[in-house]
Symmetry: D4
Subunit: 165 residues, 8 copies
């Protein structure tokens, strides 16, 4: 199992790293690239066009501002493309979100929350699990662990508030 | 191949119908439901919990306003869930979009454009094609037809503008 | 008199604490929980379903981003549910606000200001005071104290500006 | 059981009427007023100040644009005040929503969705049901009817789509 | 010549102080108050109702969030009321701006920029100068000084950039 | 008493006409112009520069989209300038509002609601009434009539709802 | 003199036609294409890459929603690219605007107003006039005609209002 | 080759400096001015009116808030005017962007991203390169360098992630 992650700028890595942490946990191989849709248009297109032949089964595109990258990747591959809007220094991420999610008819991008790098990876896992049964179980385990973590936090806050009130 | 589509209100059907047209074209079976996340909470959860066992491999949730439905479905299944924000009579669809896409860490929803019913279906096809090779080719054909349609429209506009100028 | 407060994440506690301060002042018991609508869907629903039987007369749901929690609680109880939108790191709280307030027909959530934890608690008191006469008087006293505090601040600023001008 | 409804302009009546339909169904008496917070400031304040003495247990304030009415009512009564933002001809209701919901610390307004007249009334019923047990059951019945209506619509759409696909 | 300034909270003073600096420069007397439209409704109304009789010729109302104060003042006086929207911790000032500027037909508020305390004061001076000829000249002098300051800054930047380029 | 009204386009006249109705009622003379800040920059500036000498005591600037007109007028006169944002075919008036109200330090524009032509005129009257005592009384009468109109509408709705409920 | 216009969909032609009217008036040749950045990615890129060799000196890209087209064209040519955001059925054009104007560092797009087809063309003329002196004069004439048209409209409104008042 | 840059305030220089760095690199002369459209209206207009005669071939206008400067410059010259919206302390740059880009029919401003000073300069170079062939090649070289820089960053991230995963 292998997926590709393309980010529009190396400054996005701080966020994208959280996707890698998740994918590693699920033993999914990742090819990571920094390829601007505008400054390295050819390389970005090339990467997406060859992704399927290079064994990737899904792409994540992370970009900020007028975030064309996920849409540009999606336009030259039929692999599912997940769009991860990155918040930049103005407009609080709204520009990235709209540039990624409002794709015109024909070429969808599966958009997750602004800076939602963990969810981009988890969505990738869920998509791959349509094919790979082992991921289905891993994802259920992951959910269970998450559930238990919340419940532990709950216990702690219940404790704290008991004293507090 | 089967997927489930849940819409929050029967008034969403006008939009959701466009998803059905696409899915029919790709020979994908669909179970369609009208199940409000709030007014029929139990039934909506039940549907999503059993979706995998009932042979569905992916869910589409379509909803407007404070559109919780896709997130609620996603919270009880590990199948990929596509969120389709429906524009309602106020806020121009921004409320639906944000309510669907801004999912907290842990439970992603693959969000498409506001009223983007065709893209919800096409994304479903692309996700299923990770597993089903026959869909890969169908999707490539679909893209090619789309490309030719645009080019035909291009020819027509080239003609019109030649006379116009 | 007892109410329930559910927050979607323990990171919301910093804000929610201000609700507790108010409720303590009015001698209202509170059951506090950290229960994500998505990561601990069953527990959140369970808590809300049993709230009435467990002696709670009202619920406050606090959540950020695609803040489904208050609506999800409201869908399985007929107790009044107050929604407290929490500002997260993107979109300045607008996503939480719209996800909470724009509830579809049938299941209302009584929404207060973004991060308005004090007002969530005061609204709870006002709602309970419909039933409990003693709260009516306490609330009138609270208002009077608030009024005097503003007037004291006024006196101070009147002083300062006299010298300033 | 009696509540008061104040709307800022008679043009809001088209929306507010839907609140009346609900309240009638639950046998709740209503005093209805058209009282602008700005053009008839004294009368609006007078109405709110006397509401409790006149037997009202809750107020609904409906207003558009810079919708101060609910907040103004809330400032002179300790009855719970529900705010109903009305969409006017510009800004798609966002101005009304923010003017009502973003109340400063101390004076909460229980805000419902833009043009959400039904939910304003249902919230009123839920708040009164804290005190009046008979309303609790009526509300549960109402919810059940709503649930069955959705399920009926579901059956219809299931039928339609079966033929459609 | 005397005007009144009412701010909704003493935390607004940091901004409002800049209005005072300007008014002092133009020798305009100011009565300053901290009076919340909601927490000290009566006092705020009283102040505005008596403003004319107390020799004030214009009011400035400064407030944040659901900023009703300027509109509330305007509703009980026919003196011109200037609205100064204060940016609070969420929504970047948009809530204050819309709550102040979108006044319904009949009761205008002369709104200036978010946190635009200097402009609120300068607008006051320009309004008073309709009556007081001496202010007309002072304002023209003020404008000329402003102009010269910009030109001086221009000279400095012209210098800097010459070396820079 | 005379004021000037400049609108950026003759298409704004439909809205601006409502200002004229009010001003006529108060016997205020008006010089009306259609002068784009951009297409007839010189004429617009000329008009504003000479306004004071031509006996005008205040200007109203009405414009849509990137609505520079009121600010441009304000930059060359020390008369008070009222800005009236006109809603155009995109952005629901937000562009006009921000372009008019967010004036930088030094040159204020007294902004009223989007399409708030009546309020622009009423604000003009209130500003002039600082100087002209006769307007003070007329404005008080106007307010009283407005008040009575609301009360009449109130009576009617009270009637209607009595039958309705 | 020749420029290229690419629109993302033939539905944009209604708007783009107004650009053609202007360009015709200035005797500028135009190659018009309908080429979606996503559905006909190769053709769009090809057109832009060859534009310079095919004698075009500037490109206009018109697109709606997640409007990547102008940025995509700009990424493969060093000709100036003008971006024309088209308003679609949701989000009032804000998505198109942000997707076009918020281009990341390195690849600018010269953005005009939403649906501002005339201005896209006029900007093209102004850019070409840097090189072609004859256009400079034509543009000055055009401006003068525009000025006279506004003045004529002014005369008419002055007439109308004289009678009206 | 010479262009003019006008900024509305010397506080914009921190951003505008990045334009100068680019223009220096391309050996383009620049006349830089600090001239507020409102506080030094005459000087700003004078500068723009004489720009062409003073050998400038293009103007860049940088301004924040109600950013009229670029439009005001454009109204008195037929040189292309590039608008650079500067983010100020409220509204996250949206006010500047809309005030610059939403220019009415007739007078376009070529708008770049909020705080996009580099792109303002690069757009200037691309516009001048329509006339000056030497710039065409420099721009192609610049693009190639940019491309290589991205690829170098890509190599580095590929390295980092290999170890990371």
């Amino acid at each position: 199992m292998k997926i590709g992650i393309v980010m529009g700028s190396d400054s996005d890595f701080e966020i994208v790293k959280k996707s890698l942490d998740i994918l590693k946990e699920f033993n999914i191989s990742v090819e990571v690239r920094v390829l601007s849709a505008h400054r390295t248009s050819d390389e970005a297109l090339e990467f997406a066009k060859n992704a399927e032949n290079n064994g990737m089964e899904l792409l994540i595109g992370a970009a900020g501002k007028a975030a064309h990258l996920p849409g540009v990747l999606a336009s030259v591959t039929t692999l599912p493309v997940i769009g991860l809007p990155i918040k930049s220094s103005t407009m609080d991420g709204l520009d990235s979100l709209l540039s990624i999610v409002q794709m015109p008819k024909g070429i969808p991008v599966a958009t997750v929350a602004i800076n939602g790098a963990e969810n981009a990876a988890l969505l990738a896992v869920q998509i791959l699990s349509v094919k790979y049964d082992e991921l289905k179980q891993s994802m259920k385990d992951y959910r269970e662990i998450m559930r238990l973590e919340v419940l532990k936090k709950n216990d702690k806050i219940v404790e704290i508030t008991k004293e507090y009130l």
